[in-house]
Symmetry: C3
Subunit: 236 residues, 3 copies
């Protein structure tokens, strides 16, 4: 799919597109003045870029897989207030590489992973819920959420934020997990209407916490509108 779209666009910088109005791009040799203005590490001439209007968690988790699978590093993760009028974030993620082929490969992997990482995003007309899990956190989860490298990591989001407060409480009561961070509209978000909890623990405990929160979240968000649904396939 990425290859076909690339042909349609005709630019060497274009890699492909994905869910959440996400675009994947690559610059083989970033101009020195832009490189400096972006405050990038000089080691990386080539950058891969993924960014979307809707979603930060899915793109970050996808980038986490991409950085594991390629010879790249995460240089920046920035979170606009977006989701096209929704309650959450958009995203801008920069991969650094010494070789453009590595940067391109990272973007390709991330775009492909988006299909999975949007799996536990549930929405209706009033808000959204998000649940993410990895058995082994890598650089993107570390940079964005302060996750410990190589450990199990879980993330939950409730929007409007009021729902996220209850989901956070539900998750930590459901299993023996350690809270890493709690973010809310005034702290740790870009003024989104979300509460975001991140946590670690045994792989089974992290999943159990997420599953418990997901069940409660779908019921609560449903009181404000229609049954919250995912557009793709749950993976947790």
């Amino acid at each position: 799919v990425a290859r076909k779209e690339k042909k349609l666009c005709g630019l060497t910088e274009f890699v492909g597109t994905g869910r959440g109005d996400t675009i994947g791009l690559v610059i083989a040799n970033v101009d020195s003045s832009v490189h400096e203005a972006m405050k990038l590490d000089k080691k990386y001439r080539s950058i891969g870029i993924i960014g979307g209007r809707t979603g930060a968690g899915p793109q970050i988790m996808a980038a986490d897989e991409a950085v594991k699978a390629t010879n790249t590093e995460i240089l920046a993760i920035e979170l606009p207030r977006d989701t096209k009028g929704g309650a959450g974030h958009g995203s801008l993620i920069i991969f650094g590489a010494e070789d453009v082929a590595d940067a391109r490969r990272a973007v390709e992997v991330a775009l492909k992973e988006l299909e999975r990482t949007f799996g536990d995003v549930y929405g209706n007309e009033a808000g959204h819920l998000e649940f993410q899990y990895t058995a082994r956190a890598s650089q993107a989860c570390e940079k964005a959420f302060n996750a410990e490298l190589g450990k199990s990591f879980g993330l939950l989001v409730g929007a409007p934020a009021a729902i996220g407060v209850v989901l956070a409480d539900t998750a930590v009561k459901a299993a023996n997990v350690d809270v890493i961070s709690y973010s809310s509209p005034a702290s740790g978000t870009s003024f989104t209407n979300e509460v975001i909890l991140t946590f670690s623990g045994d792989s089974g405990a992290v999943r159990q916490a997420l599953i418990a929160a997901r069940e409660v979240g779908i019921k609560l968000l449903g009181t404000l509108g229609s049954e919250p649904v995912t557009d793709t396939v749950p993976y947790i």
Copy 2:
């Protein structure tokens, strides 16, 4: 209404819903790690939560009545950038209580008050106006707007922000009121497209200032679209 919806949801944490995609929730005994992550006062094991996608002023004024009427305190008021693509804020308000029945009661009162406090919110396709008044400000107005406890308090909002500048000037020229705060996109808001003026004074003066600003606001916002209207009943 709250009771009926609670039954539909089936969770003890659910209290009810209200205007502005507002949900009311309660946690009887907040998990200690979440309690700490939320930086709540240890005194309060139970919390009540109201939060909506659309509106901060209406929910804050409703919480102000709730805290007067119950044995609770306002622990946090946070203002996301929201209104579902509109120009203003959403809201997240946390009540603290030693007993869960008090927290629940505060949430019930606040949800009920929303019908009134949305009364002087006027909108069209281009923006919104909001006017709020209380004869006796309580903790929510103090925490959110630095209002003096027990005194008359007024609040006006104009969006887009340019309109709010004129409303601020109109209000203070119309009656003998004292400006408490002036907020604008770059200062005192979560980057909303609003100017917000808060003020105190004699009860009659505060109302007179609001009524004068309301008249001008409806005319100005109307030049950008259709006649601004409220979805409920004005109370000022």
Copy 3:
């Protein structure tokens, strides 16, 4: 047009409206308590105000022409996170004048200029692109973007931000221009989903850089939706 709309509104403060849900207003003699709360220079009793839901660049460039053409100064430029659910900013711009006729004239000029300055704004359902140019930057460009007075100045915006990264690189590779600033979701914007590059150089070089970026931007944004179009007439 402004005159006709003014008559319809019937308020002396109303000057007119323009693209981007922009309203133009004037206050002949700002109330002293509001003047102080707005932290305005005491020298200016009269203020002109333009502000819109959609767009900051077009309004700033329009204000730049207005301040050149009138006896006014730019007192404030504030950028809400807006565009009515889109990826960018709204705007609030305050002109100061000693005489109300000057403030009014500045607002009239700015509203008229908006037709031109929206010329190189291209949008589709997934995002937007913006390109602005002036042969001689004035106070508004200086205040908002740190442009050097009297010099050629260019501005480009790509949204989602990922596209803006490539446009920035494209522009500086296409012509000999000097980067003034690079803004992104986490730095220099109000958490918009944009990358904004500003630059100076020879008049011809600035235009060449913008034209190259525009060509690439339209192709890239088009991969996420329909062909990006302007609602008015390109001027670059």
